[in-house]
């Protein structure tokens, strides 16, 4: 694409990690889930706990591509109350003390469409957001938003799926920016387990067609699974497994139990440890070499 974003907090982070020969850990939480206070605690703790990239869910009433875990977390956030401005406000506050960790927003198009694609892109850039993933905007429909994102130096991150065939993949890669997010399972988030050999074969095939970093998400739940993926992928995304800890740690009125933030962050530390040590010591993986 013309005028694509070539230099950003996100590209710098991937370059740094490439030098260290390790993958990025991308952690997903939903903004204001289960309430603004716990969300802010998590946001504050994630960089130290080892999240290399923070993905924030912008809740939508009808999250069609998400499984039960993220659906519940979206519902909780909507009950707690959350607008696009709330999400951007939290990012802007974070940027006062954390300048290096990229933040990408994940959501569905309608709230952004209502906000205004131009207005949203400008506000997101001002808040210190680095990229967006809009689940229901395939390349065919994305330009309405993407040209505003590019004008504000924001990445639009596209998904490639197991169903994305050879004829279609170039179209997705042509639009991709920041990194390519490979959906590791045929299904919604958090419902199936990713098959490591299938995923590594697809990632290896995609490497031949793009220089962009390749991330893998959907169906990765444990530090061990994250470590396996981190051997060949440039980024590993964990969402539902983190969100489930929140689901299990609140009462019927969405009040967090004492120590919930620490439990979530401890899990992130485990994941980070798995990702950071994935390529150390063990047998050298043929496809290693984060990057093209």
């Amino acid at each position: 694409m013309s005028a694509s974003v070539t230099e950003s907090r996100l590209t710098r982070r991937f370059e740094k990690l490439k030098e260290k020969n390790r993958a990025a850990l991308v952690t997903f939480i939903t903004a204001n889930d289960p309430d603004p206070k716990l969300f802010r605690q998590l946001l504050e703790g994630l960089p130290t706990a080892g999240a290399d990239i923070i993905e924030l869910g912008m809740p939508f009433s009808d999250p069609m591509a998400d499984g039960p875990s993220v659906q519940l977390s979206s519902q909780r956030a909507l009950l707690a109350g959350v607008s696009i401005d709330d999400v951007l406000g939290a990012v802007a506050d974070m940027r006062e003390w954390e300048m290096d960790t990229p933040v990408i927003l994940m959501g569905y198009y309608n709230p952004i469409y209502r906000y205004g694609p131009a207005e949203f892109s400008e506000a997101a850039a001002n808040a210190g957001v680095d990229g967006v993933i809009i689940v229901d905007l395939p390349p065919e429909e994305a330009e309405e938003l993407n040209h505003h994102l590019r004008a504000n130096n924001l990445h639009m991150i596209f998904l490639a799926a197991p169903t994305t065939d050879e004829t279609r993949l170039p179209r997705v890669l042509d639009h991709a920016s920041g990194f390519v997010y490979y959906v590791a399972v045929k299904g919604v988030t958090g419902t199936k387990s990713a098959d490591i050999s299938e995923v590594s074969a697809r990632v290896a095939a995609m490497r031949k067609q793009t220089d962009l970093p390749l991330g893998v998400g959907f169906g990765i739940r444990t530090a061990a699974q994250a470590a396996e993926m981190a051997q060949f992928a440039d980024a590993v995304v964990i969402g539902s497994a983190i969100v489930d800890i929140i689901t299990d740690g609140i009462d019927g009125d969405r009040r967090p139990q004492p120590g919930l933030a620490a439990r979530v962050l401890d899990f992130v530390k485990d994941l980070a440890n798995g990702v950071q040590t994935a390529r150390l010591g063990g047998a050298e993986n043929a496809s290693t070499g984060a990057g093209a």
Partner: protein, 408 residues
């Protein structure tokens, strides 16, 4: 066909857009499947044997053509325009939904799919889908809101008899919107063997076009039948609108007949000025949901609102994208009728014509009752009686404070 600019009938464009509306707003996992459906549909349209097979099933299985009936007593009652009913409630399964299901099941068969999923509101589409799945020996899973299961029990039982697996969706308002979310999630997870048989003229391209094409048999028959009955085209067509499949099927063959007035009746629930209605055009704004851009009931922040209608088939916060476009073009007038107005029309039709209509077309009839008295006796109205009311007797009894089964 060359003079495309003078027609309302050449949409959508290659990307599935009707002007601002329509499109393919789906997750990447589904995108290749939707493209595959589009290719398969184009192939089928180019294959005369497909049309022939569909035609045969329409005649011998669905019972088409459905009659055009002169509703003499209602005409007398309203004392104005001459009112005709297009009797699509006489189709096999009791509504217009079979028109679309026959077309799509033959498409799914061509594609080699073995498992069919569908969403349903009133259960009419679910029943029609379960019916064609039984006929063609395909596995059938129907997603239905828990609230709709409660108010449409007869249809749930029918689907079970037909061998379908009816899955209750408890989330949100537990109606059609959530059923569609769940069907889309199922499809993402079962892409290899599954065909999603969408029941209304909405969703990602090419579904709005496919459903419209299969439902257009309604309007095509009306053209011929009215020509035979009155020797001319009708003056006004009226149809109810949830997603809008029966309406687009009636309207589409007449879009370029500028003298024919087209009226779509949305469900106003407890009133357009309340928050409890399902009138996406009268009370909504453009937005993106379920794979297409269209008019939606939504909050300022873009969260989708729950719809409300006494009629489960109209209880949806969106509308098909071609309707959204026709509204913007000013070609079709979109109006609304409340729960109470529909209930009154339901009873009136039962008593005067001996036809118990579904609650959905009762909305259309209510509007016919508003305009007919003001029109002259040679004004021809056709209303699509798109479903029969057997499924609604419990809901209506409840609304009227009567207990069904308690013989007095």
């Amino acid at each position: 066909m060359a003079e495309a600019s003078n027609t309302y009938r050449d949409g959508p464009d290659d990307m599935g857009h009707f002007g601002l509306f329509g499109g393919r707003y789906v997750a990447e996992t589904l995108m290749p499947l939707i493209l595959e459906v589009e290719r398969a549909y184009d192939d089928a349209c180019a294959d005369p044997s497909y049309a022939k097979e569909l035609d045969s099933f329409r005649t011998t299985y669905a019972g088409r053509p459905s009659p055009l009936y002169f509703a003499e007593r209602l005409t007398e009652h309203f004392g104005g325009a001459k009112i005709y009913f297009k009797r699509d409630e006489l189709n096999h399964t009791g509504s217009h939904k079979i028109n679309n299901c026959l077309g799509q099941i033959l498409l799914a068969k061509r594609m080699g799919k073995t498992r069919i999923i569908a969403e349903t509101g009133a259960g009419q589409h679910g029943v029609a889908t379960a019916t064609v799945c039984a006929r063609f020996g395909l596995e059938c899973v129907v997603y239905m809101g828990a609230k709709d299961i409660e108010r449409q029990k007869p249809n749930v039982f029918r689907m079970n008899l037909l061998g379908a697996d009816v899955r209750a969706v408890e989330k949100g308002s537990a109606t059609l919107k959530e059923a569609m979310n769940e069907a889309l999630r199922d499809w993402v997870a079962n892409v290899d063997d599954t065909y999603y048989l969408i029941g209304t003229a909405a969703g990602p391209h090419p579904y709005p076009t496919i459903v419209r094409d299969f439902q257009s048999i309604i309007g095509e028959e009306v053209r011929e039948q009215m020509e035979a009955a009155e020797g001319r085209l009708p003056d006004t067509l009226v149809a109810c609108i949830g997603g809008g499949s029966n309406a687009i099927g009636l309207f589409h063959p007449f879009l370029d007949d500028s003298d024919v007035r087209l009226i779509g009746v949305e469900a106003a629930g407890k009133g357009i000025d309340t928050t409890e209605h399902a009138a996406s055009i009268s009370g909504g704004n453009p937005g993106v949901l379920h794979g297409n851009r269209t008019y939606l009931l939504q909050e300022d922040g873009g969260q989708i609102r729950d719809a409300h209608s006494i009629s489960a088939g109209l209880d949806y916060p969106g509308i098909g994208p071609e309707h959204a476009w026709l509204h913007m073009q000013g070609r079709v007038d979109y109006v609304s009728a409340t729960d109470q107005e529909a209930l009154a029309a339901f009873q009136l039709c039962s008593k005067l014509e001996g036809i118990i209509p579904a609650l959905e077309p009762s909305h259309a009839l209510s509007y016919v009752g508003k305009i007919a008295p003001e029109l002259s006796a040679d004004h021809l109205i056709v209303m699509n009686l798109c479903g029969r009311g057997d499924k609604d007797v419990f809901t209506v009894a409840d609304a009227l404070g009567t207990e069904v089964g308690a013989e007095s």
